[in-house]
Amino acid sequence: MKNGFRQSMAWLHTWTGLLLGWLLFAIFVTGTSSYFQEEITAWMTPEVRSVPADGPKSFAAATRWLEREAPGASEWSVYSAGKRAAGLQLYWVNGPDAPADAPTDARLDGGGRKAEARETRGGEFLYRFHYDLHYINWYWARWIVGIAAMAMLVAIFSGIVTHKKIIADFFLLRLGKGQRSWLDAHNVSSVLFLPFILMITYTGLVSLATHYMPWGIAANYADQQKFFDTTFPWPTPAEKVGPAPLTAVAPLVERAERTWGAGAGSVRILNPGDRTAQVIVSTAPDAGMSVRPRSLTFDGVTGKLISAHNPSGASTATEGTMIGLHAGRFASGVLRTLYFLSGLAGCIMVASGLILWTVKRRAKLADPDRPHFGFRLVEKLNVGAIAGLPFAIAAYFLANRLLPVGGAGRSDREIAAFFIAWGAVFVWATARPSARAWVEALAAVAVSFALVPVINALTTDRSLVASLIADDWVFAGFDATMLLIAAGFGWAASKVLRRSAGPRTARGKRPARSPSVEVA
């Protein structure tokens, strides 16, 4: 029954892939974009020009800012994403005499000034969406994402079994041959990037392991909080005893960076300006492969080292490194680009698999002009997911530039634009014949991505040309990437247009009209 096993694996591959493919596509696309989360945030806050460059100096500047703005606080914390940071994020806990509605957070630019930027969630929204989704409770969202990831793992392994000729077909991509080409594209994008795809799915599950498998913790600790307190200690401020000047922060950060040979990423100061003050300096997210930071605790008055925390132990190190491998925060330049390209390959793998489902079945339809409901549903959902999500991302970027800069709830309106655009493509796909819907939706994606650098040039003074002249590689790279994505979708739209135009004209129908962007 060798054949039987392979056939049952093929069945499993088809149906796990199809049922969770749409969600997996969304997770893959937003997750892939998150490799440039900091750069996206920088682009979405064009008012911030100076980004943190020198760790010790910018932490010291942030401390001085907090001394001025939040003097009575019981705790200050300053976070940096590391070398690529788009700004410094500050949080503080106000003392008892501060008014209840006093602010408790701020973002600073590299010069230590408050970043007076438009309100946006930036790249963080896309990052959080890839495992917390949106508009639904994060607890259930993580379960849904986990089920999708599990299905992905099943689809990968059953796919390997199903794919008889992995070695023989290793380099094979035959273009212009219909179903054969889709199968080749699906195989090539998954086989050539298999190490990445396996790694990213498995480590993705590991990163939420305590969420999916709480029993290990439940058996050994009284409750979840106890586990986290023991594994990742989080000191809290003691009772204040009397004022004493805070020691200079820059030398402490410098000393910590020398000790680790890596950059600092956060400084927490407990009871600043009190005799019990403590300064806790932790490593930056990009300081090592593991995401679990090391930290040094100093006395906040004398500056003496009190204790060093270094999360060791095989399981913490393994878990931290696996999550680190998934998030790729340590990766610089070339490796980050490779992560991004591999992520794109993952998106292509999921998308080509979803399309393959319809391509394979279209040939077998009793009446190709009137396919059954299930087939039509998959077709519509494919358009809505594969063209819809990129369209939503472009709309998110465009909304960032087009919505009025001031006003409360601005970031929520940007996110609303994302979901409205996504929903619009679903509606469009239902309203139009599928072949037309594909061309139109793909063309709309291409046009909207091409518009991003144009609108950027019209609404800010940081256009592609200006960025190139100013050697601003974050902005120039962002705009150039938008154009590349637009070109990719434009190419896809023209391909579909030519394919669908052929047989249709033969049957006496007019070829699809020029793509419209009415969905926008």
Binding site: A168, F171, L172, F196, L325, G333, V334, L338, L341
Partner: protein
């Protein structure tokens, strides 16, 4: 520079592996290679990929080096595949 060299090695390695396969030889170079040459092509392809791995590990550290080697190997394989699909398209 090291990154470019690694990409070159990865592409060359997969290019040779592709060339060692009988069914691709006609598409790639227009004729069949003798068995022996195909055999050499396969082993030199594997050797080049192995050299690239050692180079990546020793120059970039074994952790980052391994990751970069895997990533660039994928890109090298894609480039080889693109070259093959272009050439076979032109001939057939």
């Amino acid at each position: 520079m090291i990154h470019f060299l690694l990409l070159l090695l990865a592409t060359a390695g997969f290019g040779l592996l592709c060339l060692s396969r009988e069914r691709h030889q006609r598409d790639l170079i227009g004729r069949k290679l003798p068995m022996r040459t195909g055999y050499y092509a396969r082993w030199s392809g594997i050797a080049i990929l192995a050299i690239a791995f050692v180079l990546a590990g020793s120059r970039l550290g074994w952790g980052v080096g391994t990751l970069e080697w895997l990533g660039l190997a994928s890109v090298g394989a894609v480039l080889t595949m693109a070259m093959l699909s272009r050439r076979s398209g032109r001939i057939s």
